[in-house]
C-alpha cells in the first residue's frame, strides 16, 4: 500500500511570511496527526483529526497555526506569520483503519523541513 505523502519536502521562508504543508494519509486511515519535530527532540503533537473532526489541538499555537481536513482525507497545515522558532520538521502521520481493526501504530510521512530565516 502507498505510504503517507507530504509536500513540499523542504521550504525556506523569511520570518513573518506564511507557509502551507500538505499531507495525504494512507487510504482508509481515519486518524491523521500533525507533529512538529525540532532538531534533537522527539515529535511533538500539534493536532489530531478523526475523519474531518478535530480530536485534540491543545498544543497548536492557534494565533499562528491552523489546520484543516475538510473531506476527511488529505490535510493542510498553515503557519502565518512564521517565526524563527518555527524552524523544524513537520511530520504527518495516520492510523486507525476504518475497517474496524484497532491499530495503535502510527504511519509517518517523510516530513517537511522548514527553515525560517
Amino acid at each position: 500500500e502507498a505510504g503517507v505523502a507530504q509536500s513540499p519536502r523542504y521550504k525556506i521562508i523569511e520570518k513573518r511570511q506564511s507557509v502551507a504543508f500538505w499531507c495525504n494519509p494512507i487510504s482508509g486511515h481515519a486518524t491523521l496527526y500533525w507533529y512538529q519535530q525540532i532538531l534533537g527532540q522527539g515529535p511533538k503533537l500539534l493536532i489530531q483529526f478523526q475523519n474531518n473532526g478535530v480530536v485534540d489541538d491543545s498544543q497548536l499555537p492557534k494565533d499562528r497555526f491552523s489546520a484543516e481536513r475538510l473531506k476527511g482525507v488529505d490535510s493542510t497545515l498553515k503557519i502565518q506569520p512564521a517565526k524563527l522558532e518555527d524552524s523544524a520538521v513537520y511530520l504527518c502521520a495516520s492510523s486507525f483503519p476504518t475497517s474496524g481493526r484497532v491499530s495503535y501504530e502510527q504511519y509517518f510521512g517523510p516530513g517537511t523541513r522548514l527553515t525560517v530565516t
Binding site: G42, F108, G111
Partner: protein, 115 residues
C-alpha cells in the same frame, strides 16, 4: 508533570553485540508503549508495541520489555548490524485519551553500530 526520558547520549557498539536502549517515564500510567526507528531525513517507522499487561515482546532480533513498577522499558537489538544505526524513539499513550491513539514521544537515542 508527565516526563519521558531516553538516553540523550549516543550509544556506540560493535557489530554483533546486543544494543540496549532505555526509556523511563514518570507521573504516568500508560496502557501501552511503542518503539519507533527514525533515519536521518525520514519519518519514524513503527517497530513494536507492548501493552501494560505484557512483560516482554519479541520480533526477529528485537526485544522489548515493559516494567510498570520501575516505569521503564528496555529495547534490545541482538546481533546488531551497521544497518541498525539510527535514532530510536519510545512513545507512550496519553492517559485519558481513550482509544484515540494519542502519543507522547521521548527525545530519542541515537545508536551507532560499528563494523
Amino acid at each position: 508533570s508527565q516526563k519521558i526520558e531516553q538516553n540523550s547520549e549516543a550509544l556506540n557498539i560493535q557489530e554483533g553485540k546486543t544494543a540496549t536502549l532505555t526509556c523511563n517515564y514518570t507521573n504516568y500510567s500508560p496502557a501501552y508503549l511503542q518503539w519507533y526507528r527514525q533515519d536521518p531525513g525520514r519519518g519514524p517507522v513503527f517497530l513494536l508495541l507492548i501493552r501494560e499487561n505484557e512483560k516482554e515482546k519479541r520480533k526477529e532480533r528485537l526485544k522489548v520489555t515493559f516494567d510498570t513498577t520501575l516505569k521503564q522499558s528496555l529495547f534490545h537489538i541482538t546481533a546488531s548490524q551497521p544497518a541498525d544505526s539510527a535514532t530510536y524513539l519510545c512513545a507512550l499513550d496519553i492517559p485519558g485519551s481513550g482509544n484515540t491513539g494519542k502519543l507522547i514521544f521521548g527525545q530519542g537515542t541515537t545508536l551507532q553500530v560499528k563494523p
